[in-house]
Subunit: 758 residues, 2 copies
């Protein structure tokens, strides 16, 4: 890379700029030449040109003006309170942790306020705080809390130290020119350079790795390198450390591998590896949301300082695609689907997504649909990108962001399974057939969750953690995350012989992924996705197909779930549905226990209370519940020897770390090849105000598997009005062009492609 | 009463009116003289003058115009579908039930539309439907469903038949003049008179009683009597049947007594007996809401037809006070506190409250605060009262309805206990020390519930019923309503020796009530209420005091709960807190069971799972939970021999009729005289978006009972900042004027009145 060329350009730019701009900033620095030689700051996220443009628009761009006012009020209040840089001591949730976290956020904001408002009190606040850190930092040992595989100095883990530097680098950039050379030297020598070296060379197990933690580390070092024009640090940030002494058997706190031979490292490595070409991040949306900020903020910085690297075009524009993928991975309320370790409630209202949306709009061709998201967020970043959004909204350019059905591939080359989201009217079905998802992955191949109007109907449990709530294990992952949340039985997918997928072994799971069989959203009335998993249980092949079908015989779109299993041996199959809500009725008899025991002793089964146990009383088992004043019915084909288990989470959970939520588990014992055919309907409504119950019954009189061979599976749905509908899946040939003809019960079916419905 | 005088007045009015009004209505009746003799219709709810006034304003009163448009659209759609008058067959929730229910609502609306829009298609619709009923009704036996103590003909209970007649009488009134005499004769002789006689003379156990059911019956007969000018029926409606052959031991389906000697009967009896002078209705707000409609609609009709009776001034204006009480019995979202049998979610958005608010505004002096409720309801009744509201809103007269702390007496003379609601900032505490509450009463003397921002924090369970959801016991009361919801242990109050208050016997409970000790809301920072109960457990006296205190040492107002018990014997005391949310932490050790059993075998205990059992580890037991992203802490003074039980509802509930919600139960064994002192704090917040946990800990370092004698109970609260606060209750003297002086730990306290706080 040619840094000199860039510096020269900056100098030229600065000279031109100084003619054009009347800069009111009074600098403490006595040497303007010095500034020119260093390159004009700010240059990282804010630029001199951008700041000028912002100042011109102030008072005339409502959402930007409001965001500025909010930020100003917040920082002004903190300036009143004074500066606190305590000796590090606590886990997340504790005082010192939260104080240092506030500090970096405040410095970044104060830096921006200094630039935009041209008021030195903000520069002084940043400077004073930085000098307090420059005084403290050299005295610090590693953090006293010992839980992390990579302990930081300000925080209990290097990850949080990196967060600090990503934000603080921006603050430093904003006041860089205002500081004297001597001041900068103190800060760089006592604070920034040792800080950057500690989280990189000092912690290669953290820094030299493909992981969201490492992304933060790389970006932290990269950001401060760009501000300081430090080529060595920048090279490490972009491409990783040349040597690291890491060994292949090392693991992090979550059990994830640290070193994988042959992986590209540094920022580029972290950009290559976890993102699929569709922009899906392998750990899932909760961590993608977390990772997006360093990826995008550094991309913005690189775009400003190293435009020749065309970072936003890298890997066919994957960073901008990732923003689109992430928005599509939210429910109707903008909350992320909690795939893998995901905390429920996190949504595109988080600051990282404000920044992501602003950047994607500004650098991604001004997609007017993003403006509607920004309008809901009701805040913008205080830089060029936020200004673009504010102007766009002011000019009324926004269009509604319509989330359609979408299939997102997983894996760096897009060939390691994926996530399919089927949408129709108020319903959203999320089907996960992805790769392991790194250390945050769950053992839940072919699992799904179902949403209506943003409410969970059949839930994915998410993580077991109360992020930053100190009383709950310091706000960190709880042991129930491993013993429950990651386990196969905690998910809406098949558990065979009460064992986990891949025996719950990360090493095995990481070698495999499910495979897309077909995905088709062409027909507006039928969205369908199908995937296979052949490695989770060696010797057992699974093919699961979900369709969401809009049919005039039904009030709303309904879900068909076909789970075909083929095995070399006889097994016990458990297929849970973690419905949320209260049971209205079930058509099968069950024993309700007056003494509760857990369903098993390990693999997550120890956390389930066995509340009831029944057997199908007919060929179909029908189970109805009410959730959020809407009725739901699940109709499934049954063998008379099946068991129907009414279970509830919460056994062996002394600290109440788990939510006491229910599950219906279909258990088929001593079975080899079998198919579970299930239809889930949303129907009717209840109002506690009018006390009217509308359409409170299932519309299905009978559900029948009318053919089930190696090549085809066909189900027939008969409605209460005696209308019949047939769905046929081609099990062996997923070609969209292939013509099929089969006869079932003397009726001939002809179609082209992987499925038939009529 | 002199009906003749009134009829004469009506005739005079009609003559004057016919000069003033140009009536476009074409009547099928050939004899205008006939109309004049009958009295001019409409006269019941709509009046000719009122209709004229409405027509004048149409198009110029937005909320009225919208309500009219909504009603018109609904009725027009139903007219398109045609008329269905099926042979009665089903329980509530079933087709025939819901159809007949729709029919009466539609007829009432169509009648109004005919009057306001002057379009005969609506009159024809009402007429055709009425004739269908007139044809069906004489053929009907009693309803085939046998569950009710008073089976109807159209519906399974006379109650619903009465609903039908209350609405249908209004429809008939609207088209009365438009029908011919011959048509009216058919309707009256084949339908209305036999209908009214069946629900009165035919069912004295339903009609001749003080009960919300009977109110509907009385009003139904009264309404049709007013339309038809039938003095005999009106007399029965107002004062009850002269003879009824009822005996003192008869009970209804809910176990309520049917006959109580000496009670006044009929509408006046039902108005006298259940309403306290403050407008509190003894069954609780859910049934008050249900009862308000017949009370008020009949009052409106009486006001129109018999203005000389001054019905709105009856018993010092109790009907209008009742509307005010009812609005005050709602949480911040307008949902009624579910005292006794109350279905959660029912709110002042229900149609009965639209009507109540409109009537209270129109006849109650145009209180501008009611306009703000009407504005939220966003609909009005299509009559004079709705027009008043619409004009008021249009003129911008509304003021915010500020719900303050309020104490509502119970009992016809206001001397049978009551309900105190303490409010401060976002918190509302509901303290119930009322009388039994008729057959819908629960055995829960001195119980309470706590709300924040309209969310339940410590819940009252409410009823066990899925109203109108047919799959759940026909939508009727479930057996768990008796075995759980009414039981003492299901409530946040004291259970002694695992027995119910009054042994759970309605006969005993009905003879007693708790008594107010004192209520004081004068101090804006301290709202306090205290009550005694000495009959629930003979030989045991209970004094419970709640205060909600705003103190600068605390982030938000906090609750003090002092429960003093004095007994002739040693007992086991169980004091539950049905918190909602997830446990964050507890400062005591407890055993968490790996096998669950119910807490007991009867009196509701059989429905509680015993999940955990612990003992206090210090003088204070502290228990924190999170609900709706706010933190709560309960700190209670403990004896080391106390047991702390973590329980959950749901044992012995095979049909999942109960919600699986938790409780913390403080159990004190082998105790005689004792005091439970508890502080409940709401503090801090959590955001799953910023992932910040703020103020997540209790502010209390120590809670101590520093004095507890027959005459005084004093507690001292020490905050984490070492500030101390003392609350003292005078246990023997509730005079507001009495001066007290006591010395505790060498400190002298002087104050005037029933409590001290500083």
């Amino acid at each position: 890379m040619n840094f000199k060329k860039n510096t020269a350009k900056n100098v030229l730019f600065l000279i031109v700029f100084m003619f054009l701009v009347s800069c009111k900033t009074t600098s403490q620095s006595t040497s303007n030449k010095e500034v020119a030689i260093q390159g004009a700051h700010p240059k990282l996220i804010l630029t001199k040109e951008g700041v000028n443009n912002i100042r011109k628009h102030l008072g005339n761009v409502p959402i930007f003006d409001r965001s500025l006012a909010t930020t100003k009020a917040e920082v002004d209040a903190e300036i009143e309170l004074g500066i606190f840089v305590p000796v590090p001591q606590d886990f997340s949730g504790g005082y010192t942790h939260e104080r240092h976290k506030s500090n970096f956020l405040l410095m970044q904001k104060a830096g921006v306020l200094y630039q935009i408002l041209n008021d030195e009190k903000y520069a002084t606040y940043v400077k004073d705080m930085l000098f307090a850190y420059a005084k403290l930092y050299p005295t610090l040992p590693v953090h006293p809390q010992t839980r992390s595989y990579a302990r930081g100095k300000l925080f209990w883990q290097c990850l949080n130290d990196s967060n600090w530097l990503v934000y603080t680098a921006q603050a430093y950039d904003c006041i860089y020119d205002w500081l004297s050379k001597e001041e900068r030297d103190v800060l760089e020598n006592d604070l920034f350079i040792p800080f950057a070296k500690f989280i990189s060379e000092g912690n290669p197990q953290f820094f030299n790795r493909v992981h969201n933690h490492s992304t933060w580390g790389n970006v932290a070092v990269g950001m401060i390198a760009l501000v300081m024009d430090n080529d060595e640090l920048l090279e490490n940030a972009l491409n990783g450390l040349k040597t690291d002494n890491l060994t292949a058997d090392m693991k992090d706190n979550d059990g994830g591998f640290i070193k994988i031979e042959g992986q590209r490292l540094g920022f580029f490595g972290n950009l290559d590896e976890p993102f699929s070409p569709d922009g899906y991040y392998n750990e899932g949306p909760y961590y993608q949301r977390y990772a997006m900020y360093p990826f995008l903020i550094f991309a913005q910085a690189m775009h400003n300082v190293k435009p020749e690297l065309k970072i936003f075009e890298y890997k066919d524009g994957v960073l901008l695609k990732a923003v689109n993928a992430l928005i599509n991975l939210t429910d109707a309320d903008g909350e992320f689907f909690p795939l893998n370790d995901g905390q429920k409630g996190m949504s595109y209202y988080t600051a990282a997504l404000v920044s992501a949306v602003d950047i994607a709009y500004h650098y991604g061709g001004n997609n007017p649909e993003l403006l509607s998201i920004a309008k809901k967020q009701d805040q913008v970043v205080l830089d060029d990108t936020g200004l673009s959004i504010a102007i766009g909204i002011k000019e009324g350019l926004e269009k509604n962001f319509t989330k359609k059905s979408i299939n997102l591939s997983d894996g760096r080359n897009g060939d390691e399974g994926g996530v399919g989201i089927l949408r129709n009217e108020s319903l959203e079905l999320v089907f996960k057939y992805a790769s392991q998802g790194s250390s945050h992955g769950h053992y839940d191949k072919l699992s799904f969750s179902l949403y209506e109007n943003g409410n969970e109907i059949i839930q994915d449990y998410g993580l077991s953690r109360f992020v930053n709530i100190e009383q709950k294990g310091g706000g960190n992952y709880l042991k129930e995350n491993k013993t429950w949340a990651k386990q196969t039985i905690a998910h809406n997918t098949l558990s065979v012989n009460e064992e986990n997928h891949f025996k719950g072994e990360f090493e095995i799971g990481s070698q495999h992924h499910s495979d897309l069989y077909f995905y088709d959203d062409k027909n507006p009335n039928i969205k369908i996705v199908s995937a296979t998993e052949v490695n989770a249980y060696p010797g057992t092949e699974m093919l699961r197909t979900f369709a969401i079908i809009k049919d005039e015989e039904f009030e709303k779109p309904f879900i068909v779930d076909l789970f075909k299993v083929k095995s070399a041996t006889k097994n016990q199959y458990d297929l849970p549905y973690f419905y949320l809500g209260q049971i209205i009725t079930a058509n099968f008899d069950y024993k309700s226990f007056s003494q509760l025991e857990s369903l098993g002793t390990k693999n997550g089964y120890q956390h389930l209370w066995k509340e009831g146990l029944g057997n199908p009383s007919s060929e179909n088992s029908v189970f109805s519940w009410i959730n959020n004043n809407l009725f739901y019915s699940l109709t499934t084909t049954s063998n008379t020897s099946d068991e129907l288990i009414l279970a509830r989470i919460g056994a062996h959970d002394p600290d109440y770390n788990l939510r006491r939520e229910p599950s219906l588990i279909i258990r088929r014992k001593n079975a080899q090849n079998t198919t579970f055919a299930t239809v889930i309907e949303s129907h009717g409504s209840y109002s506690p105000i009018t006390e009217l119950a509308l359409n409170a019954y299932s519309n299905i009189e009978k559900l029948k598997i009318i053919l089930d061979t190696d090549t085809y599976t066909a189900v027939q749905i008969t409605t209460v009005n005696k209308k019949t509908k047939v769905l046929i899946i081609s099990n062996k040939d997923n070609s969209k062009e292939k013509n099929h003809t089969i006869t079932i019960d003397n009726k001939e079916y002809n179609w082209k492609g992987s499925y038939y419905y009529n």
